[in-house]
């Protein structure tokens, strides 16, 4: 047959690729001689400085490796990229400053080691195991999104590694009894709390709230926490329903919402459904006083839906307009640490040519908190760093950070506050976001929908 040569060629290509792949995977097939018992947690790099080549400069420099996976592909690709960029900026800053200085003059030079997790949990687990055992990273940072972070947390915990989670607001992850996982994001249970307070403050006459959510873990847990809170504040939750993550047309669902005549609509899910929902609420001229949606509103591209974006409120972990500062820290009686909000925003702008989102801030803050913990412990020894993290309570450009030390919720974020933004039109009729809650951080008053 005439086809044979091409078949042979192809097989050749496939086999060559295969062998290439196997060759690349060789290191995993022949690991360095390790004892059959997996290394103890304490056997970290801090105990074997001799293994490192000291840098030429007088104060000895030592590298510390920070590992994580990023979603270069798959559903979480965009926020994950922002998060990685934030972390990168931190790394640049530290490198420029000559590393993390210990009291004996050692400078720790952080390095990043990361893989693509394709936004998949099984991949995350394999890759974190690799990071821990092969790349011998010193500290871990979580991937973006609750589901992936939870998968990584399991591995990290199993290996006794310290991991800072960022981009993961899930409550339940932090109720699994982990001992080495520290959460930077305000947990989901607090996402809509401020929005309910805001409504109370803005329109005392409002009585009825419709809570709607995308049927997936994060959004579901947010509204599950918001429902009792709303009730405790005297609201009537007239609708409490989830929609399928694949929903594209909300028109019938909006009819259902309309039938309950709520004063406010809160919930939603992620970006695509959030924008479509906002757009259709506007188009169908739904008359509610306040709409608060998760995830989507803080994104700059939310404005692509035009006038439909106006008045939409959204919770955010952080915004470029926040007013955290050394003075604010003093006022709150907290120590201040690290970069100023202004320097972070301008530095980010200069480095990546885009405005930082809260994912970016989370990425930077993850590095920053780790740095602070290492400095305060004067060591990279996990036990010491862990003890420091447990005690930590401070304010940074990212806001207040403190971790729970209760056994049941160890590592859960207890101090960080959400800020709430609203899309408003300025005097030139141009749409933009303003921070409208909490009162201490707000840059403008919230507006009710007309």
């Amino acid at each position: 047959m005439r086809l044979l040569p091409s078949r042979l060629l192809l097989l050749g290509i496939s086999l060559a690729t295969l062998f290439g792949a196997i060759a690349c995977a060789q290191p995993s097939a022949q690991p360095a001689p390790t004892p059959t018992v997996a290394p103890k947690v304490a056997t970290s790099k801090a105990d074997t400085p001799a293994a490192r080549t000291p840098a030429a400069s007088a104060p000895t420099a030592r590298k510390i490796v920070i590992g994580f996976t990023a979603s270069n592909t798959g559903a979480q690709n965009l926020p994950s990229k922002k998060q990685t960029e934030g972390l990168q900026l931190w790394l640049d800053t530290v490198t420029k400053a000559g590393g993390i200085k210990l009291k004996d003059g050692t400078a720790l030079m952080p390095e990043m080691k990361s893989y693509d997790d394709e936004s998949k949990t099984d991949r995350v687990q394999a890759l974190y195991t690799k990071l821990i055992n092969e790349d011998k990273v010193d500290f871990l940072i979580s991937p973006y999104s609750s589901g992936l972070a939870r998968a990584a947390a399991v591995v990290s915990e199993q290996n006794g590694k310290i991991m800072i989670t960022t981009g993961a607001a899930d409550d339940s992850t932090m109720e699994q009894g982990f001992k080495n996982i520290y959460q930077l994001y305000a947990p989901g249970s607090r996402y809509l709390v401020g929005a309910i307070d805001l409504l109370k403050d803005l329109d005392p006459s409002a009585r009825k709230i419709a809570l709607i959510y995308e049927k997936e873990p994060f959004s579901t847990s947010v509204v599950q926490a918001a429902q009792p809170y709303a009730r405790s504040k005297g609201y009537d939750v007239v609708l409490f329903e989830g929609y399928d993550p694949g929903t594209t047309d909300f028109a019938p669902f909006i009819n259902k919402i309309n039938a309950t005549a709520p004063d406010a609509i809160m919930g939603g899910g992620h970006f695509p459904d959030g924008t479509t929902l906002a757009k259709q609420l506007y188009e169908k001229k739904v008359s509610v006083r306040l709409v608060a949606l998760l995830v989507a509103p803080p994104e700059p591209t939310f404005s692509e839906i035009g006038d439909a974006a106006e008045y939409i409120v959204g919770p955010s972990q952080w915004e470029p307009g926040v007013t955290y500062s050394p003075d604010a820290a003093k006022a709150a009686n907290l120590p201040w640490y690290g970069i100023s909000v202004k320097d972070f925003v301008s530095g980010y702008q200069a480095r990546f040519n885009s405005t930082p989102s809260y994912h970016s801030a989370g990425g930077y803050a993850a590095g920053l908190i780790l740095q602070k913990a290492i400095e305060d412990s004067d060591s990279t020894e996990p036990a010491k760093v862990k003890a420091t993290l447990d005690r930590l309570n401070l304010m940074t450009f990212y806001g207040n950070v403190q971790f729970s030390i209760e056994a049941k919720t160890h590592g859960k974020q207890v101090a960080h506050d959400m800020v709430y933004i609203q899309w408003q039109k300025d005097s030139a009729n141009k749409l933009g976001t303003k921070i409208v809650w909490p009162p201490a951080a707000k840059s403008a008053g919230a507006q009710l929908r007309k």
Binding site: A75, N77, L78, D244, T248, N258, P272, T275, T276, K284
Partner: protein
């Protein structure tokens, strides 16, 4: 149940149903002609979304004008896709063509993610709305429905009134006999694939005028298209439109029923499996 919500949801369901139907039409046409389930259907819809967005943002083209260009592009793309990925395995067992089109799916998503990231995009088109009582009809949806109807009628006219269209039916019916009659079946298959892809990309463009989207958004419509196509009878373009309307209405009514909204997909896919088992030729299948 609230009567306002009921009437509004019936109208909304109908409105979206036409568009669902159009989205499924390309899939059913390709299956009908060559027994290939095109697993690249979803990504192709997404390509249609981005194509119209790019035309609008870079060339300032009106999305509805863009739609025409996108469909022509789709025709060419589809013909190319046929010759690259499908032609060689057209007579192989189903699995082979499924995997061949799935590989195209992977390639499109792979390139699409690099080019556009998975960041959501939206096309801000507004044509106002008409409101009577509780029923609000959006201009954009109305136009999209109209285009869906025109496309269906056009396809019907093509298949039943033109020689090329009749050749498509002849090839679908009996490829060897068509060859014996001097019909270049390879070309007809490529043409059919092209039309199928053009319809998919066109529906993507229309969807882009209604909802925000990412490069991965096509998957939702692909799975929905499977349901619709089975409902309307695999290979039956007019059935696809009717199937789309049924699904649209079903979604609309199920949503406002006392049943929680989350159960809507359970019903939808349940209906899908049951139809397959009980009446695989679809609700409107002639055969």
């Amino acid at each position: 149940m609230n009567i306002d919500a009921l009437s509004a949801s019936i109208v909304d369901g109908l409105m979206i149903g036409f568009i669902y139907g159009l989205a499924a039409m390309g899939l059913t046409l390709i299956f009908g002609v060559m027994r290939v389930v095109n697993l690249a259907h979803g990504p192709v819809i997404a390509v249609g979304m981005f194509a119209v967005l790019l035309l609008a943002q870079n060339l300032g083209l009106n999305p509805y004008l863009g739609l025409v260009i996108v469909m022509l592009l789709g025709l060419a793309t589809g013909i190319g896709m046929y010759f690259i990925a499908v032609h060689r395995v057209i007579d192989a067992p189903e699995l082979t063509t499924l995997l061949a089109t799935f590989s195209v799916n992977l390639m499109i998503i792979g390139i699409g993610t690099v080019l556009f990231s998975t960041s959501p995009r939206a096309l801000d088109v507004s044509l106002g709305s008409v409101r009577t009582g509780a029923v609000t009809i959006l201009g954009t949806k109305l136009v999209a429905d109209l285009i869906a109807v025109i496309a269906t009628v056009g396809l019907y006219y093509f298949l039943y009134r033109t020689r090329a269209g009749k050749s498509v039916r002849a090839v679908a019916n009996n490829r060897a006999a068509a060859e014996l009659m001097g019909i270049n079946s390879t070309w007809i298959l490529a043409l059919s694939f092209g039309i199928g892809i053009a319809l998919a990309m066109g529906s993507g463009s229309l969807l882009a005028t209604l909802f925000s989207f990412t490069i991965l958004s096509g998957t939702v419509y692909e799975v929905k298209s499977f349901v619709i196509v089975v409902l309307g009878g695999l290979g039956n373009p007019v059935g696809a439109l009717l199937g789309g309307i049924v699904i649209g209405l079903l979604e609309g009514l199920a949503t406002i029923s006392p049943l929680p909204v989350g159960w809507v997909p359970v019903i939808e896919f349940g209906v899908f499996v049951i139809i397959l088992l009980v009446r695989p030729t679809g609700l409107f299948g002639a055969r």
